[in-house]
Symmetry: C2
Subunit: 419 residues, 2 copies
């Protein structure tokens, strides 16, 4: 059974994270993703540790499954020619170069479009294809800083804190996937392609809907709040006898039950505590009362008690606990992908669960250029001879001792490669 | 010009955040979104402050634009009947009730499917439709705790920190939108609908690809790292003379330039510092050197200098600075939506920029039941008489003095409503 995007071909020129995470989602959903990597070196994340086995980057592996790898030197006329031919037979092209790079290659949207008017050309960039910062390079950390999320995350009185996941990249990846699929849907009606321009900065802003809505409404700049939510109390983590617990009280039913659980039914007499919004106005009084109560029992004791009352709560899991959580296990949220060299490697399953045409996560990230020959033969109908010539000219370059040494250098086992 | 999803009708039974954020994205992209709200009360976020004007929730307004509002009592047979008729003429149904709720209404997927086999039925829930926690209520904060992101976010040695945006909800919203669009794409080929099951917990896990990949590779549980990234140095925020700055050095070109900028070219002699991965191994020595240098100039001075060198960097913006940032302004990332009562209200623009059929953000969030009559007349061809009867039976209930007083109560201007 093939995934829902079976029959859609994605030409994937992306590297690092924001682009590859988007094309991985499309690949998991059954699209045929052809990842075009720099001849010889490939995606630079191939050199980022920690490594599995003999130099397999866990970073690269984690965001490039469900794809095939083809090498191509886009700076050479023959490489450009091949790319245009691949674009001609693709439904989608995705790139996340700094804006202007594809134009330098002579491969920007106006060019691609003349070869394939029905293609969806998606560009992910730090700041978008226009505006004063368009050509600036960006990274997750830069966008987390500029987009405001770092300023909202952290302890009261402390410094800004990076979100412990690459949300600067990944928000853009998710919006990119949505934009591509929306454009494909539109193409069903119109038969026409278009360009999609997604910026990490705007995506970062978009996922902060609530902090921005509060700022627009009140003019007050959101502050760092530690573990809590600004609009509700309790809606945060508390220390227990042995660990932490998160508790969130929203509906009117939960508050009396929670007061009973912490043996403070007296609080129910106070009508200024009857909604989360009202309680958040009196947080300074209320939080110490709750914090004191929560320290009296262990996390496991509290969870048993509060779950029985249908009060939203949970532990603060470290990742080892997440992996072993009964729900995570029951749902198969962590899966394994067979890899020809590394054996079964652990991977995060897709959270997109479709009943009739499920996404399938079973193809490991490819070796550099692993599929160059088959793609050139099958899609572009090149002969063995033609492929050999491309290899001699280094237009394609799949196995490369320098790249290998480079990886080993990162591993600290060899001296750095000579320039 | 209509958006790319023009012609797609979404029946939206969602409330709070994870569901409404997903349907807002579809609405921005041109889908016709009919939000079905509880007769009389509506989405509970209508009661969450801060408020604009006379009781307009900024929370509700921020995630329910691009939709129409219809009230319906789903517990009554007539309400259920009308819902089924609406489902019959819709392409997509989205709900984010606790699993089992729609079955109690007699409106779960097996029922909906018999009335409309081509519908995409999307359910967003805390933990998914199956597994031991399926029927537990969840909230953003619970999922941030259970999914591990709180454990990764915060200062070294400090407590867990909530991400300053509702990523527990919003990651699920984005995956939900992707799943719906993928299923629509598949339907073009098969003509068939299906069920989509997206959980907040799995979505939360999925966006932590890098922490999980590191954990799987090394067995080391990721720790809280303050502002920095675990795989690279420098890739973090530093204090300057007057504020903070984020700097990220990844490619091989940037490190020598950065060393020159901080007047420490001597570091270039150390070949164990030549990659981000290697530098992160020697972070303890390196960070104090960089931190000391960064304190010598203001953020503005450093930005001018480092941007000229093409080094990825930026300020740590609070939201007021984000809104005024020249790039944000140039791109129109913050927009205004005309509201019939409140005038122009500020809103975050969609980050999905399509060239030919752009998303359009110009319809404000609706009043409760604002479109009940027009939807019942136009879509279901009900008569004035029939609508009046439904209103008398409180199957539909658009303007409601109790809900109004309830809102006022939240505002603290009136006493609480009698039960």
């Amino acid at each position: 059974m093939a995934g829902p995007l079976s029959g859609i071909r994605v030409l994937d020129l992306t590297r690092a994270l924001a682009g590859p995470f988007a094309t991985m989602i499309l690949g998991d959903l059954g699209a045929e993703v052809i990842k075009v990597e720099r001849a010889g070196e490939g995606d630079n994340t191939r050199g980022v540790g920690p490594f599995l086995g003999d130099g397999y980057s866990s970073y690269y592996l984690s965001v490039n499954r469900s794809k095939r790898s083809v090498t191509l030197n886009l700076a050479a006329p023959e490489g450009k020619e091949l790319l245009l031919k691949l674009a001609k037979s693709s439904d989608v092209l995705v790139e996340n170069f700094v804006p202007g790079t594809m134009a330098k290659f002579g491969l920007d949207y106006p060019v691609i479009q003349t070869h394939n008017p029905a293609i969806i050309y998606a560009a992910v960039s730090g700041f978008g294809q226009s505006g004063p910062y368009a050509t600036r390079p960006a990274l997750d950390i830069v966008v987390q800083g500029m987009g405001g999320i770092k300023s909202n995350t952290g302890e009261p009185g402390g410094g800004p804190v990076r979100v412990g996941a690459s949300v600067g990249d990944i928000a853009a990846s998710l919006y990119c996937a949505i934009g591509i699929l929306a454009a494909l849907q539109e193409r069903v009606v119109s038969g026409k392609g278009q360009m999609l321009d997604v910026s990490m900065l705007e995506s970062q802003i978009a996922i902060q809907e609530n902090p921005f809505a509060r700022y627009f409404a009140t003019g007050e700049v959101p502050e760092r709040l530690g573990t809590r939510h600004p609009l509700n109390t309790p809606f945060q983590a508390f220390e227990t006898k042995d660990d932490w617990i998160v508790v969130g009280i929203t509906g009117p039913e939960a508050w009396p039950l929670f007061c009973a659980a912490i043996e403070r039914v007296d609080l129910l007499n106070d009508e200024r505590l009857t909604s989360g919004w009202l309680r958040s106005q009196r947080r300074a009084e209320l939080e110490p009362i709750i914090a004191k109560a929560m320290r009296l029992k262990t996390t496991a004791e509290w969870l048993a008690e509060l779950i029985a009352l249908d009060i939203p709560c949970g532990p603060v899991n470290t990742l080892d606990k997440v992996v072993d959580d009964p729900q995570v296990v029951a749902r198969g949220a962590i899966t394994e992908i067979p890899h020809p060299v590394l054996g079964n490697i652990k991977a995060i399953n897709t959270p997109i669960r479709l009943s009739r045409t499920p996404a399938i996560v079973d193809q490991p990230a490819p070796d550099l250029g692993q599929h160059t020959d088959e793609v050139l033969k099958d899609l572009l109908e090149l002969s063995e001879q033609a492929i050999t010539e491309l290899r001699e000219k280094e237009i394609i370059k799949s196995r490369d001792s320098r790249a290998y040494r480079y990886t080993r250098f990162y591993l600290g086992k060899r001296s750095p490669p000579s320039p």
